[in-house]
């Protein structure tokens, strides 16, 4: 407070002085410098913890592992899912939210065909149905659902549809396509 501030220089009548910086400010400055040295040593020299790249690789490995568990659907797998009440329950929820508007709440068919009468337009095997749901039938107005719902929900929906086979919901749409081939 007492001594005259050091005059740096004068330019165009504007004086620049050089007072000492606040100690708290200098403390932050030096702390960050010390921290950066420690950070550098910790992550890049001693590698005591995974750095940014390491974390990315770890997460990428995690994703790869999860995808590896994601086996492509098969007839056996879908038939196994039909026996799992949890999956069928999820499938029913997916169906009511996305499919019921065209196929009816019981699958009796509205704009879309009846799913309960044992007649099929594009084949009756689990994988045939899966293909229709996942990739759609663009010419008929059936959208490809896999990109909106994801593989897991498509499988659940197919499992639910497989449970509807032969339930002959009342007020169903007239049969279309071929009867089911054993």
């Amino acid at each position: 407070m007492s001594e005259k501030a050091r005059l740096h220089y004068i330019y165009d009548g504007i004086e620049e002085h050089d007072n000492r910086l606040p100690n708290w400010w200098l403390f932050i400055l030096w702390t960050t410098i010390v921290f950066s040295a420690g950070y550098w040593f910790w992550y890049h020299i001693a590698e005591l913890a995974p750095g940014q790249l390491g974390e990315y690789r770890g997460e990428a490995a995690e994703v790869a592992k999860r995808n590896a568990d994601n086996k492509p659907a098969s007839n056996e797998m879908l038939l196994a899912l039909v026996k799992d009440p949890g999956t069928v329950g999820n499938g029913k929820a997916v169906f009511q939210a996305n499919c019921a508007s065209c196929h009816g709440a019981q699958g009796q068919g509205l704009i879309g065909p009846n799913l309960t009468d044992g007649f099929w337009l594009h084949g009756s095997k689990p994988m045939d149905i899966h293909k229709v749901v996942a990739e759609g039938v663009v010419a008929k107005g059936m959208p490809a659902w896999e990109r909106t719902l994801g593989a897991e929900r498509v499988r659940a929906a197919v499992a639910y549809v497989l449970t509807l086979k032969g339930t002959h919901a009342p007020g169903g749409k007239a049969p279309q396509g071929e009867p089911e081939q054993p």
Binding site: L21, A100, G141
Partner: protein, 469 residues
């Protein structure tokens, strides 16, 4: 004068830092006067508003509830979701131009009267300090005294009070984000149930305590960008607090003169330093306009009190512009102010329009992915999907109606959609037309009516078909 030797604050140094860089705590004296009285009243009003915002219910929701986690925002009866974020542009520009306008016109009136830093520091923390440590002279004496058990206990109580107030303020802030009811249930359930909210509350409490117990006016002088931008926002006609050099100088005590001697010339300033002692940033306003001045008017009250005592008119230190202090006329209306005002009005108009034009529900008609049209058994079919979001604060029923100029079979699986507040839903929509009627693409309309507000939204879409075109 205090016991500690005091040098006058200098214009080329920060008052709150000693030559060795250590913190020099500033202890402003208590002043009485018209401005401090009005300021205290305003502080109380502003703090009451701050506490009331999450408590007062408007339209079934708190006046302000920013549910960031669910991206639902309730503001004074309006319900907003993430899709409304574009309105923030108008909000921010309105506030920005408003601040420019007010600063050019009234200088740092925000800093001295309405900024939370000032409101809480002068309205809450400084009174607490005064309660425990006494007025300025006692505080100065205390700060240099040895740490006796008595001083330790008193400091402990004072900082305990600081922490208690900081806890209250931070929880009031938290309730803006989790609502008052949510806050009560969170606190009752304990920190293990909602660790993130608890961590936020504690971090904000710590920041408030550090700021108001120790950092204080350094925030305004060293950190705050608005404070650093003053020189660009103000001109010689902006309202500032200034010392009338012409009237005050040469400063000094009134002297008794012996007979026959000529009294030295004296201005009105008696150099009592009351203005310096009253200053919360520790400057001497008589050195002229400085960046550290928050325009809090405590020096005005202090000086007016002295002027009354010595029988001189008030206003030696007063609210005025640089031109006014120079004895010229103070112009209020000037190009800068008109321009800022026009920009501010434009921004606020944009904000008002963006809020008035708000429909309390969203309805977007999208063509279904896949083929643009389908030909089936002599008919042409178009498929659409309607995305609905209820943005009312309450439940509503959205009714869908389709109007087609060409006779068409319309299938809407759900023509009446019941939605809770901020719930969304997708409805497919099918139009089937006899093929021979589709000679050219035609336009049909979809109407969505909102039962809660009575508002209607009409959307047009083209029916496509094999028109050979």
């Amino acid at each position: 004068m205090s016991a500690a030797p005091q040098n006058s604050p200098r214009i080329d140094q920060l008052s709150s830092i000693r030559a060795d860089g250590s913190r020099l705590a500033i202890h402003p004296s208590d002043v009485q006067g018209r401005f401090i009285t009005r300021r205290r009243l305003l502080f109380a009003v502003l703090m009451a508003i701050y506490v009331a915002l999450p408590l007062v219910q408007v339209g079934g929701h708190p006046a302000v509830h920013l549910d960031v986690a669910a991206r639902r925002f309730y503001l004074f009866g309006g319900t907003y979701n993430a899709q409304d974020f574009w309105r923030v542009l108008f909000l921010v520009t309105s506030m920005g131009f408003g601040l420019l306008f007010v600063t050019a016109w009234l200088g740092r009136v925000w800093c001295g009267w309405a900024c939370p830093q000032t409101v809480f520091l002068e309205g809450v923390y400084r009174p607490i300090e005064r309660f425990f440590d006494g007025p300025r002279e006692r505080r100065l004496k205390l700060s240099g005294s040895p740490w006796t058990p008595g001083r330790v206990v008193r400091a402990g109580l004072k900082h305990g009070a600081y922490l208690g107030v900081s806890l209250l303020i931070s929880h009031a802030a938290l309730s803006l984000f989790v609502s008052a009811g949510g806050l009560v249930s969170m606190v009752a359930a304990g920190p293990t149930v909602s660790p993130v909210a608890f961590a936020w509350a504690m971090a904000v409490t710590g920041a408030l305590y550090f700021n108001f117990a120790w950092f204080r006016e350094q925030l305004c002088v060293v950190v705050c960008p608005y404070g650093r931008l003053q020189s660009a926002m103000q001109d010689r006609d902006s309202l500032i607090i200034g010392y009338d050099v012409k009237r005050g100088e040469p400063r000094g005590r009134m002297l008794k003169v012996k007979l026959g001697e000529v009294a030295p010339p004296r201005g009105d300033c008696v150099d009592c330093r009351r203005c310096v002692m009253a200053c919360p940033t520790g400057i001497d306003i008589r050195n002229g306009l400085q960046m550290d001045c928050l325009a809090c008017a405590q020096c005005v009250d202090a000086c007016d009190d002295v002027m009354d005592k010595v029988g001189r008119p008030r206003g030696l230190i007063r609210y005025d512009s640089l031109n006014g202090l120079d004895g010229q006329k103070r112009r209020v209306l000037r190009p800068r102010l008109v321009l800022y005002g026009a920009l501010m009005v434009a921004a606020f108009t944009g904000l008002a329009l963006s809020l008035v034009q708000r429909v309390p529900f969203e309805a977007n008609l999208l063509r279904f992915q896949g083929m643009p049209y389908l030909i089936e058994e002599g008919t042409v079919r178009n498929q659409f999907e309607l995305h609905l979001v209820n943005k009312n604060p309450s439940e509503t029923t959205l009714t869908i109606r389709v109007d087609s100029p060409v006779p068409a079979q319309v299938v809407v699986p759900q023509a009446e959609v019941k939605l809770a507040s901020l719930e969304s839903f997708r409805v497919p929509l099918f139009l089937t037309v006899q093929r021979e009627r589709v000679t050219a693409p035609f336009v049909f309309t979809v109407e969505v009516k909102d039962s809660a507000s009575g508002e209607v939204k009409r959307m047009e879409a083209r029916f496509l078909g094999p028109t050979g075109g």
